[in-house]
Symmetry: C2
Subunit: 459 residues, 2 copies
């Protein structure tokens, strides 16, 4: 087995230049899924992935959807070995603002050991680490140590609208033991990470209505409730003075944080002063009794994302606005049910609504949080693979954001997902001058190659 | 004296048709002060007023300002009699939306005893009642029983920007005993009113800032204060559960309502159910312990006129907004100082502002409330004149709105103002199909003519 791994490692070293050329070719395709003028480019990117899969030795096909195609590839001849479902996406964010790019977004350019291009880290570069590790195994050993199924979609940047249907329709085809996604980041430069938890989310909108049209605040002020004042009262009533969320049933299902996990999070090299400096904020704020990292990753939130009502132009306009509305999202932690949280939120808002104001509430869609047991053997396997490739043990982290596909894998396929980010938080994903460190591309590919091995020898 | 009054009354009756033709001519001039394309029309309207003054026997001139001219006319040969300053405006609101007018806004048309045109009631028709009453006195008796000074401006609908300078520069010229303005309404059809109180106003704007740009609510939510949530907390903290305003010093200077006044207000035929039905609101709301009319006219308010922050488009965007802001106006009652109230408001908002949020506060401009002693002899004179012309005693009312010129007359010239509204609340001022009842035009003109007499025989 050591011989096989040595052969794979040698292949990776020998083909480093070719891998980079392939990545550049991939990055030259402006597969902007949000822009219908790029429809043919998105299709070309799918064809590129298809060709990569086939040349790596996978059986692969383009699956049509109502939107951009999904590329599906698999190899299942490792009898008795685990099956791994690898997910990624070949579409990219729009490159705007173009004038902020040092070199054009679709002309991949190397500077300071980094490859600059839209999609370099999100997610073309990271997808290619897995395809290249497969190619290395197949071309150097003639086989893979595990069974693999690749699902590489073209609509991640526009909400993965058609992925759910694909997962439902191919449920049995996609059966696997564990999923792998590289679409996150390391904790910090040279501190690789395994993300074992994500927060869920639920999105709602509330509109309050008062008089049938904007009314003169002199003639009517004091006589009837003002929708903006009322909405402020409603939203203010969602937190108490200690930052605790005041929604019935909000915390009831959440188990207390594991003391071991709290110790692990506290041990991470998180520089709060630097964090605040980058945000331009003078002080942290939030639920009392928890550290900032705990509040970001392991505690739920209730944030207003936008509010609107009445006159918003220059100067003043003396009206009682006819209505006001707010968009609210709650970030959820494991065991919180998005529908139940939305119902509690609506009940709380209605409870606070004053006479003369009518309330409309909509939304409630979202996804639950995700947590991978950090002591699982899949995590142990990933740790070993990463330690070999990066020369250092990965840290175990959670993320405050939500990755809906991870929820879908859990709910549709019953799969836990290994979130293995090879990039950096500072790679400017979604911004101008997105890049991927060549070292991370190499280390990621090697970690991926070793992961297949480690998963095949699970205890 | 009875002979003189009878002669004046006869003149009014004999010239009824001519007065109406003159009003129509005035209304045909589209003197929209807000629209620079109508600059020449606004000037024409000023010339029309000038000509009316001169033909009524006043000495009159056009006074240039940085904007539209002020027409000033006077007659001061009533030695020993009081001097009355009459204010009005010859400019009108824009006529939009044009498609809602049954007949064109600048083609005065009579239907159902009402004259339809932009400016019919606000304020050309009401201004003309006073000019025509002067004409009647001069042409039928050769003199006036009082001294008069007319200030008819052309910028009332755009904030009277240049009036203040005129009042300051002509302070001594404008010296008078009492002011008269007919730019309000009767309490209800056939219930004429004297408005003896107006609320003041102070306008402010508050902006709260958090992170230096919109931030991902997953990555950062829970770690730092959200400016929209924070603003909601600030605004909610401006009222307690009983609708009392929570601003330091807000109520300290306000004397309790006079029991006699409360009785008078309670006796007015105010139909609360009808009031709510017209607003489309299910219930009244406000400071406990006061009736709806008291809250509208005689108690202060703190209303948010507009709020904005974060994402306001379709669907959801999961951000912690970088900032949020709100426009706030307080309606003030006598003895409240706009500057002091603004300072208290700022202090209260700062007190409620959470860590990590910076607060900007601006504004503080406004005007104090106005109250005319309802037992004054000027009020008594106006009551008598109105009772003769309308056949019924006027009711004594206050208004919830603010008329800045009334404040200016008080602060600059030390004058109290008789607010004598000849129109109706339902005359659609500022809206399409504005009109003035011909009966009100006639009764208003006669009340004006009798007012000059009653003021000349004050006890």
């Amino acid at each position: 087995m050591a011989d096989l791994l040595a052969a794979v490692d040698r292949y990776l070293t020998d083909h480093d230049g070719q891998f980079l050329e392939d990545l550049k070719a991939f990055l030259r395709i402006p597969s902007v899924s949000a822009d219908s003028r790029h429809k043919a480019d998105v299709e070309r990117a799918a064809q590129f992935v298809l060709a990569q899969m086939r040349s790596a030795g996978l059986t692969a096909e383009l699956v049509k959807t109502a939107g951009h195609p999904i590329v599906y590839g698999h190899w299942q001849d490792a009898a008795g070995a685990p099956t791994v479902l690898i997910y990624g996406h070949y579409d990219v964010q729009p490159p705007d603002p173009l004038d902020k790019w040092v070199t054009p977004p679709f002309e991949p350019t190397i500077r300071d050991g980094r490859l600059f291009a839209r999609g370099a880290t999100d997610d073309k570069g990271q997808v290619l680490t897995h395809l290249k590790s497969i190619e290395a195994w197949m071309n150097s050993t003639g086989r893979l140590p595990v069974n693999v199924k690749f699902v590489i979609e073209g609509e991640e940047e526009v909400g993965s609208k058609n992925l759910e249907t694909f997962l439902t329709e191919r449920k049995s085809t996609l059966a696997a033991d564990v999923a792998v996604i590289s679409d996150t980041s390391q904790f910090a430069p040279d501190i690789p990470a395994i993300t074992y938890g994500l927060r869920g989310i639920v999105a709602c909108e509330v509109t309050v209505r008062g008089p049938n049209q904007d009314k003169h605040s002199g003639v009517f002020g004091g006589a009837i409730a003002n929708p903006v004042n009322a909405l402020a009262k409603l939203l203010a009533g969602l937190h108490d003075g200690k930052g605790r969320i005041q929604v019935p049933g909000f915390y009831g299902d959440i188990p207390p944080l594991d003391p071991a996990e709290r110790q692990r999070l506290a041990a991470l090299p998180f520089d709060e002063a630097e964090f605040l400096r980058e945000l331009g904020v003078g002080a942290v704020w939030g639920e009392s009794g928890y550290t900032t990292l705990e509040r970001r990753w392991a505690r739920p939130t209730c944030d207003v994302n936008g509010i609107t009502g009445g006159y918003q132009g220059e100067g003043s306009k003396t009206i009682i606005p006819a209505w006001a509305s707010a968009k609210i999202t709650c970030r959820l932690v494991p065991n919180q049910d998005p529908k139940k949280i939305a119902a509690g939120l609506e009940a709380r808002l209605r409870e606070l609504c004053p006479p003369g104001i009518t309330l409309e509430f909509s939304g409630g869609h979202g996804c639950p949080a995700f947590a991978f047991n950090p002591t699982s053997r899949y995590i142990a396997a990933a740790k070993k693979a990463i330690a070999v490739a990066f020369g250092v043990e990965p840290v175990m982290i959670r993320e405050g954001g939500s990755i809906p596909v991870v929820s879908s894998f859990q709910s549709q396929l019953g799969l836990d997902t290994l979130l293995l980010g090879w990039g950096q938080n500072t790679d400017n994903l979604h911004g101008p001058n997105e890049h991927f460190h060549l070292a991370d591309f190499r280390r990621g590919t090697r970690a991926s190659a070793h992961l297949w091995h480690e998963l095949s020898v699970l205890g």
